[in-house]
């Protein structure tokens, strides 16, 4: 029982960066922009968050810096695909290569400048990111650790996902945004400011991805900087969008399921299932591939996928 709770808690923790990436990408895709730069935006956010925390000792500034950096990198994507109408696939991919390169580059440079050859966040910050302990609530058996034992990132992530769910599903602006993703020409003719809302959504999505990146650099490795710290999570997030069928609230449990997959290897004893470690590492990608195939077999119409996904919009196109 203890083991199960521990496993579930660990799954939530491992799924949280995915949650950020997925929700951020949903915002972008809902306006019809498939941004393959999630990995890059997360890397840039990871780097900005970590370095800001390292320099300023402030947890809040670290989070804000990661969001801002994510937003700025999304701005590059938005500028190129919305205004300059560049190919979305190639732009996103370039953003990924650029983002990972930039983050690693800055990391190496900072390590070279540090006195002991490693970058470690100050104790003060790692403390702020430790699990919250709410007296009373956190001590309840089972429910306590399952619901009230996480670091602030987890709660923030769930909150953002729910807010985005309400925004897209329940508000008038959300309806307008959905219209843009389905048929930008119709949205435009209806008087919706297509360009403006595309920018807003893509940039907000980038900011959310950026925070997810900060989780990777600041929490996963115990506050020590390593290269490639996002490690492909951004790609899983892109795939998770499909798994969550473009609904931020579905993304919550979707990312926790994938979080569970990522940590399975530590919880399944080799004596029971003698699978090699590499198999478990492969599992999230394998399952995503399978999900892709299944979801493509299953639905045609009424899938939640924005119909204009991947196509840029120019009002005067003839």
């Amino acid at each position: 029982m203890d083991m199960v709770i521990k496993f579930l808690v660990a799954a939530v923790l491992a799924g949280t960066p995915l949650l950020y990436g997925t929700v951020g990408e949903i915002l972008s895709e809902k306006t019809g922009h498939l941004n393959l730069g999630v990995e890059g935006m997360m890397s840039i956010g990871a780097c900005a968050g970590f370095m800001a925390g390292y320099q300023t000792d402030s947890f809040v500034i670290a989070i804000l810096a990661s969001a801002l950096a994510g937003a700025l990198s999304a701005l590059i994507y938005a500028l190129l695909t919305v205004t300059f109408m560049a190919n979305q696939n190639v732009t996103g991919l370039t953003l990924t290569i650029f983002g990972i390169g930039l983050a690693n580059f800055i990391g190496v440079m900072m390590i070279a400048k540090s006195p002991d050859g490693t970058l470690k966040l100050p104790e003060h910050i790692t403390a702020a990111m430790r699990s919250i302990h709410i007296p009373g609530l956190s001590d309840i058996p089972v429910a306590g650790p399952l619901l009230f034992s996480y670091n602030p990132f987890v709660y923030l992530g769930i909150l953002i996902a729910i807010l985005c769910g309400i925004y897209l599903g329940k508000t008038k602006t959300g309806l307008n945004v959905q219209a843009i993703g389905q048929n930008p020409a119709a949205a435009d003719a209806a008087g919706i400011q297509v360009t403006k809302w595309k920018y807003i959504n893509i940039i907000a999505g980038g900011a959310i991805c950026g925070i997810g990146g900060a989780y990777c650099s600041m929490i996963i490795n115990g506050g020590v900087w390593i290269s490639d710290n996002v490690g492909g999570l951004g790609w899983i997030a892109v795939a998770l969008v499909i798994f969550a069928s473009w609904r931020p609230t579905f993304a919550i449990w979707g990312s926790f399921v994938f979080g569970a997959l990522r940590i399975l290897k530590y919880y399944i004893p080799q004596s029971v299932f003698p699978f090699p470690i590499a198999f478990y590492d492969m599992l999230p990608f394998l399952i995503t591939a399978i999900v892709l195939v299944i979801s493509s077999i299953r639905n045609r119409r009424n899938s939640n996928m924005p119909e204009a996904l991947g196509n840029n919009y120019f009002r005067e196109e003839r």
């Binding site: 307008n176 389905q182 048929n183 209806a190 008087g191 005067e316």
Partner: protein, 513 residues
């Protein structure tokens, strides 16, 4: 003072090097219906798109209610009370009618109930009917149009622009639309209706402004004009409105369709148990509201779609089960001009030469394509059909619609088919280009080729075809002798109203079935 709802003064708009509008003037009063008449490509839609904020004029002035305005976006147009019903509906397919109506409006989100109520009020006022909960992709064309109209009325438009609103409607639906427009006019709305159908101009409008080649030619009172004068103004010279119709000679059956049923990819019925014949040396016209099974019919004969049951006998061989290339080799040629004109039949990024190769690239041994004959063929077509293009290597997407269609049809005819299926070959063409195409088809007919002509314009179908087959919801509702059939009759058959059509028949024409 503010007599005019809209005044356009010297509006000019260019696309790249093409001048679409050249110093155009236009005025419309409140409580008036103005028809904007012009051939395809004369700049009607461009002008209206500027009024609705889709395009922006390069120069010129627009006055709304006597005030100079700049309309930079559809939002601006909306604020000025201008609403446009586009020819290709601007609706989100997966949304319900009410969602489509409410998107883009200001204010807080209404509950479904409040919204339905508001929509109902508007509908009652103008005699419109819609189901607010229905999703757009489940709607018929005329239902979609109604949603578009409600959408602009909901946003408070009192200046309405309708771009070719009747192109997709049956004659009966058109009547209903005109009733609604007259009601709006009574309530003081200014209405601009874009069309190239003279009959409708005479029926509905108060005044007509005629555009030709991007210029405004003249504005006349409808009451003081007639078909002939309007045509001359539109085309710029005297034209005969007659289409040649040679008598068919050798009338052996070449294609026999028996009890054919086809399902669409989404599982709904595309063709429902249809049977008919096509004979050598005749033109069989096919009429029907868009989406009545025309596409399925073409694609099934061409081997692009699977039939559920039935048979297609071509000189005694069953075509079902054959691959598209086998069918091409039998001498059956299909050219379908879709709404975007380039979707099927031509490769938009390739030049004429490579497009000539499309169906014959496999010719000759070895792994390499032979471009020399294709080049010669392209040059020959340019000369024969007077195709205007900078060079035969220029991508066809840069050519004008008329030339593109000449390329397509020219290639099909050069392959010397026995059966030529052509769908919407004059879509988007001006009168002169259309006549070139009709001549090409008649030439084929004289060569004893069987031609199946799927068209939109009933007047043309009646004048060009020998027989007319009417499709409705995938069924054949009648096959008429084009020499005796009437437009009303076809219209009724298009809506599936076979009883009234039969009555109409006893008055005038008769079937040959």
């Amino acid at each position: 003072m503010a007599d005019y709802a809209i005044e356009c003064k010297k509006i000019t708009k260019t696309f790249g090097s093409v001048v679409a509008n050249d110093q155009i003037d236009l005025k419309v009063k409140k409580g008036e219906i103005l028809a904007l008449l012009g051939e395809n490509g004369s700049g009607k839609t461009t002008l209206m798109n500027m009024l609705s904020g889709i395009y922006h004029p390069d120069s010129g002035e627009i006055l709304v209610n006597g005030q100079t305005v700049a309309i930079n976006s559809p939002v601006d147009a909306m604020h000025l009370g201008i609403g446009m019903i586009h020819q290709h509906f601007k609706l989100v397919d997966s949304f319900r009618a009410m969602d489509n109506i409410v998107i883009g409006t200001k204010g807080k989100r209404l509950t479904d109930k409040e919204l339905s109520q508001k929509i109902k009020e508007i509908c009652d006022k103008f005699g419109l009917e819609i189901e607010p909960e229905k999703r757009v992709y489940e709607m018929s064309v005329s239902e979609k149009q109604t949603v578009e109209i409600v959408k602009v009325l909901y946003k408070g438009a009192d200046i309405l622009i309708l771009d070719e609103p009747t192109a997709v409607l049956t004659p009966q639906e058109t009547e209903r639309l005109f009733d609604i427009l007259r009601k709006m006019k009574e309530k003081g709305c200014a209405i601009i209706i874009i069309t190239h159908k003279l009959q409708e101009v005479l029926e509905i409008s108060d005044r007509v402004t005629i555009l030709r080649k991007g210029k405004s030619i003249e504005t006349v009172e409808t009451a003081k004009s007639n078909k002939q004068t309007l045509t001359e103004l539109m085309v710029g010279r005297k034209v005969s409105l007659e289409i040649d119709r040679p008598e068919p000679e050798h009338v052996d059956t070449i294609l026999k369709v028996v009890d054919l049923s086809v399902d669409k990819p989404d599982g709904s019925k595309g063709l429902d148990d249809i049977s008919f014949e096509i004979k050598k040396g005749e033109i069989l016209g096919v009429a029907g509201v868009a989406g009545s099974g025309q596409k399925e019919l073409c694609e099934t004969i061409a081997g692009l779609m699977q039939a559920k049951e039935g048979a297609i006998l071509y000189k005694k061989t069953n075509l079902l089960g054959k691959t598209p290339s086998e069918i091409i080799n039998l001498g059956i040629s299909m050219s379908f001009v879709p709404e975007d004109r380039l979707g099927m039949g031509l490769v938009s990024t390739m030049g004429m030469t490579d497009n000539m190769l499309l169906k014959s690239y496999k010719a000759g041994k070895g792994p390499f394509v032979r471009r020399k004959p294709a080049k010669e063929l392209a040059a020959k077509l340019v000369e024969k059909l007077s195709i205007v293009t900078p060079s035969i290597e220029t991508p066809v997407r840069m050519m004008s619609g008329g030339n593109v269609q000449k390329v397509l049809l020219g290639r099909e005819i050069e392959s010397e088919p026995n059966l030529l299926i052509t769908a919407y070959p004059v879509r988007g063409l001006d009168i002169n280009s259309s006549y070139v195409i009709y001549d090409l088809l008649n030439e084929q007919k004289k060569k004893n080729v069987a031609v199946m002509y799927i068209g939109e314009d009933l007047d043309v179908l009646l004048e060009l075809s020998d027989r007319i087959m009417v499709l409705c919801h995938g069924k054949i509702t009648g096959i008429l002798d084009a020499r005796t059939a009437t437009k009303e009759q076809i219209g009724l058959l298009m809506t599936g109203d076979t009883e009234d059509a039969a009555e109409e028949m006893t008055k005038g024409g008769q079937t040959n079935e």
